[in-house]
């Protein structure tokens, strides 16, 4: 059914169409604006769900792919002895076992965050159009298979995000937005540099025709993957005639590209010590935007690191697996210890995100299928959990006007539903089996333990600290004597309860029946793992 329609393009472009429509609506009609934004958020969600259902691991990825040449620029072919020489960038969309779970996560979290945007009080039109633009950016990141295309969508998430933080955030919003832009701008610069190195060397194809070579440089991910996996073929292919191009990717250049990518995506994840920007975003941005930020945008870093860092440079990753694991353990423990001593609930959650993303790094460092699946599973799970937690933060702030732990207490008496969901989300965050958090953590630890036992054992300590900071903050808010300012508040309205129940249900579903996600991922890492076996000798 889905094969006959350009489903990936529809997913990608419908929020963009929605953004344009929102711009045409009258700015005072908040209901219209909300409805339009919701419709154009639900379309990609519905399509992604269909895609998820129709996806068959192993063959599904090939069935859903859209590939057009976007632009092709002829270069001066006099440089070499070839029929034609050009540089080409494509509009190429595809999904596989790695991107599909994250695409689905983005669609779900977007819809939930949109519902949570009831708390937005001003400039609805701008808000919703930026929000929809951000959605297109996220979908594009997970769908794009051309380096430049990926880069553009990656950047497309930054700009709406900058304004969403800077206009609708709390007191320190402008500073937070600037900090966000500076860091992510640096990351993007590093990424662009790495991409250019890749395109100029490994993005090279030469097809021998009757009257000479047709030579092309492109940002195509597939070409890069093929060339890097088998460097001899493309380097030799280009032997004498094209020696002048110097297309061979030397080891030094490979390392440079790998480290640049690690920095670029490390800022996004974020990896210690590149994390301070995200603390400010977590505390200053409006909660519905943080849902997207913590739920999806951080995962773009994970995705990029796996898609480009791991898949293109398996040898470098294997050499540096210990480094990545050490960074992961630092993230886990540093984030966890700091989360234990915060006085502001949003900061507890921010440091907890750092800690949980450390587990993702451990999964990547494992170079093992179980660990890699754990990393993606943990990303999806953390996306859902942190979205739920920030949804709750938004609702609590609306009612009590504070998220300081010292000023909250006893909410289980006055708002039992919100408190129950908060407790469930907290338990999911601390890795309770039966909820999604456990599966990702367990798989990541299990994967890494095969190669680095001591390191894993230290990392496992993180789940003890998780129990401490989650219980300390969640019980502080919901248990104990009722604080005065929390006494006369009402429990969740339907529009708030709906996303809360949905996210909770998904967290339970993934915790009880993880196969629903792991089966889809099944073949996502096959190519990557072949690399590891090929390049690292098993």
């Amino acid at each position: 059914m889905l094969e006959n329609i350009p489903v990936l393009s529809l997913i990608l472009l419908s929020p963009l169409a929605g953004a344009l429509l929102v711009l045409l609506l009258p700015g005072q009609r908040s209901v219209w604006l909300r409805a339009a934004a919701l419709v154009f958020t639900l379309i990609p969600l519905a399509l992604t769900l269909c895609l998820f259902a129709a996806y068959r691991p192993g063959v599904g990825g090939a069935a859903f792919t859209e590939h057009y040449t976007w632009l092709s620029v002829p270069l001066n072919k006099e440089m070499i002895n070839a029929k034609s020489l050009s540089i080409a960038f494509d509009y190429h969309l595809a999904v596989d076992g790695i991107s599909l779970p994250l695409l689905l996560l983005s669609a779900i979290v977007s819809a939930m965050a949109l519902l949570a945007s009831v708390h937005i009080r001003k400039r609805w039109k701008t808000f919703y159009s930026l929000f929809l633009l951000l959605e297109t950016g996220m979908y594009g990141v997970f769908l794009a298979r051309d380096l430049i295309e990926f880069f553009i969508f990656f950047e497309l998430t930054l700009i709406p995000m900058f304004f969403l933080i800077g206009i609708w955030g709390y007191y320190g919003r402008e500073k937070a937005a600037t900090r966000f832009l500076v860091y992510n701008g640096l990351g993007s610069a590093a990424m662009l540099l790495a991409f250019l190195i890749l395109i100029a060397t490994a993005g090279f194809t030469a097809v021998q025709g009757a009257d000479g070579y047709t030579v092309q440089f492109s940002g195509s991910y597939d070409v890069l993957l093929k060339n890097l996996a088998d460097p001899q073929s493309y380097a030799n292919n280009a032997s004498e005639e094209m020696a002048g191009l110097g297309v061979f990717l030397s080891d030094n250049l490979k390392w440079a590209a790998f480290i640049l990518l690690l920095v670029a995506f490390g800022i996004k994840i974020p990896i210690f010590p590149l994390h301070t920007w995200m603390l400010r975003v977590h505390t200053e941005a409006p909660p519905s935007v943080v849902m997207i930020h913590s739920g999806v945008l951080l995962k773009m870093g994970v995705y990029g690191l796996i898609r480009f860092g791991a898949a293109l440079f398996p040898a470098q990753l294997a050499d540096w697996s210990t480094v990545i694991a050490v960074l992961g353990v630092i993230n886990i423990l540093y984030g966890a210890v700091l989360a234990c001593v915060q006085k502001e609930f949003k900061l507890v959650l921010a440091y907890s995100s750092i800690s949980h993303m450390g587990i993702v790094l451990l999964g990547i460092a494992s170079l093992h299928e179980v660990g890699l699946q754990g990393a993606v599973f943990q990303s999806v799970s953390h996306g859902l959990i942190s979205a739920l937690l920030f949804l709750l933060v938004g609702s609590l702030y609306e009612r009590t006007g504070t998220t300081q732990l010292g000023e909250l207490g006893g909410l289980a008496k006055s708002v039992p539903f919100l408190s129950g969901i908060l407790l469930t989300a907290g338990l999911a965050s601390l890795g309770l089996p039966g909820l999604s958090g456990f599966v990702g953590e367990f798989l990541a630890f299990l994967g890494l333990f095969g190669s680095m036992k001591g390191m894993t054992a230290v990392g496992v300590l993180g789940i003890l600290f998780a129990a401490v900071y989650i219980l300390r903050s969640v019980l502080g808010i919901t248990f104990g004597p009722l604080q005065e300012r929390c006494a006369d508040i009402k429990d969740a309205r339907f529009v708030e309860a709906l996303p809360m129940i949905t996210l909770t249900a998904l967290i339970v579903l993934l915790g009880v029946y993880p196969s629903i996600l792991t089966d889809v991922m099944q073949h996502g890492f096959v190519g990557l793992l072949e690399h590891f076996q090929q390049r690292t000798g098993g």
Partner: protein, 621 residues
Amino acid sequence: MSSLAEYAWLVPVFPAAAFAALTAMGRGAGRAGAWIGTLASLVSLILSLLIAGQRLSGTAEEYSNHFDWIQVGNTTLPIGFEVTNLTSLMLVVVTLVSFLVNLYSQGYMKDDERISTFFAYVALFSASMLGLVLSYNLLTMYIFWELVGVCSFLLVGFWFRKPEARAAAKKAFIVTRIGDLGLLIAILLLFWYMPNHELDFTNLHNVFGTQTGVISTGITTLIALLIFLGAVGKSGQFPLHVWLPDAMEGPTPISALIHAATMVAAGVFLVARTFDIFHASQAAMDTVAVIGAFTAIFAATIGLAQNDIKRILAYSTVSQLGYMMLALGVGSVSAAMFHLFTHAFFKALLFLGAGSVIHSVHTQDIREMGGLGGRMKITAWTFGIGALALSGIPPLAGFWSKDAVLTAALDGHPVYFVVGVVAAFFTALYMARLFFLVFAGKPRGDAHAHESPAVMTIPLVVLAVLAALAGFVQTPFNGWFGEWLTGEAEQEHASGLVIIVSTAVGLLGVYLGWLIYAKGTVRRDIVSSRMPGVVRLLERKYYVDELYHYVIVKPLEGLGKLLIAFDDYVVDGAVRLAGMSASAIGRLNTRLQSGQVQGYVLTALIGLVILALAVAGRRFW
């Protein structure tokens, strides 16, 4: 006839369904919710009895079934259930106590506005505990292991408005989680060391029990000790016992169900389930025995000096779990499981009896009670039977099982035996003190004590019967229970010495207690007047909580504060510095853009010179 064991998975499904229904209904369920929970536990009980009956008659094979929970490439992580004699016994114990506690709570929790939430949590606990019992591999067990932990946490903190309940719930979760980490790492180790990544108990038995040498002794010891760490956390063994007495902040039926009869025994059950791993490592066995013996006497001494009726029972539980660990450590699974079996009944009885007392007089301090025997006859009689059973007075259940443990201890090492006997004396003494202070003498409180309603006393009577008679399944003259349980005929030795000594110390303890606390011929301050330091040490529970506070909690808090400063000044400071230097360079460049042509020419000239030098330099390179 098809084996009922195939349907054993239904046993936890009933309470799980009750939990789901009660959660969906919310608080509106009210007292109807209480009945839903009780009914579900009754159905589970009936099914468990049928399954156990089939196993007792020996007509059914052991049954195991599983499915792939997660499949990653060539790696599968299955979960599943298994019915053996050991699990069917545990099924009966758990469902029976669970049903009685459900019934009892109908009365005890009657006036609580969150009664349906209470029954929902209890149902979730029962489902998780039954899942734990039925687990066929360590992964399944870990999942339910954590779930019973979280139910315990929820129920300890059930009266969430009390800050003490909040603190106790938090402590229960975090302290047991220290143990859980050990179990988790043990699972990771086993996953990578076991052939084909198998984690099921049958394969563990094969690898560690029969084909020894597949896994080196060092790793075996490590795995065993890590599993034991999990058991230490869950079963409140020293040094992770600190959470269990605090957990008494929960409603009393919960203390009976979770913190006496079932969940805290899960650690013992875990060690029994993975016993082959322990058996393959003498070092691990010795550790289990030493920790068990030490905990038995350590907690018993603390129990002597407490005044809260539930805390005395809690320390008693810690001490009795120590006995079970001791039995495991000296190699007798059947003695440990036997003591677990009888202890479940008499300790649940004691807690429910204590609940009946608290329900009546609204205090937990035994110094404010007294003379309740006349006005609460059923409670007093049943409590008395429970106390005598715990004190090891023949022919009650506790006598036979304690006898089995002490016999095994004597076979292990004389020191274990002596420690066990001394702890048994203290046990009898603190139980006599408790009983006589509460039920004998004149009333000291001003409350109008009254007997509890039938819905609460019927469970007491049932448990009292079991506490009296359950021991006869295994006496030194009749050993079929151990054989049925472990599948191995145990050599029978009706050790006269053990029977005489343990009876003597039990009676002596009770008699001394009677002399001090009922008759008054021995003055109560006989010890405290001469050795106030010792009494204070016991009252403050050997200062273990204080030790942890200053040695672990405070330094970690300090580290946290240090890291806050580090994150703010060093990590973020470096960024700010980078930002400032960028703008400083910007300002410098602004100054160059002064509009003076001389300046521009000079800059250009300097640039040219640098370029020329660079080109020239490259040639020499």
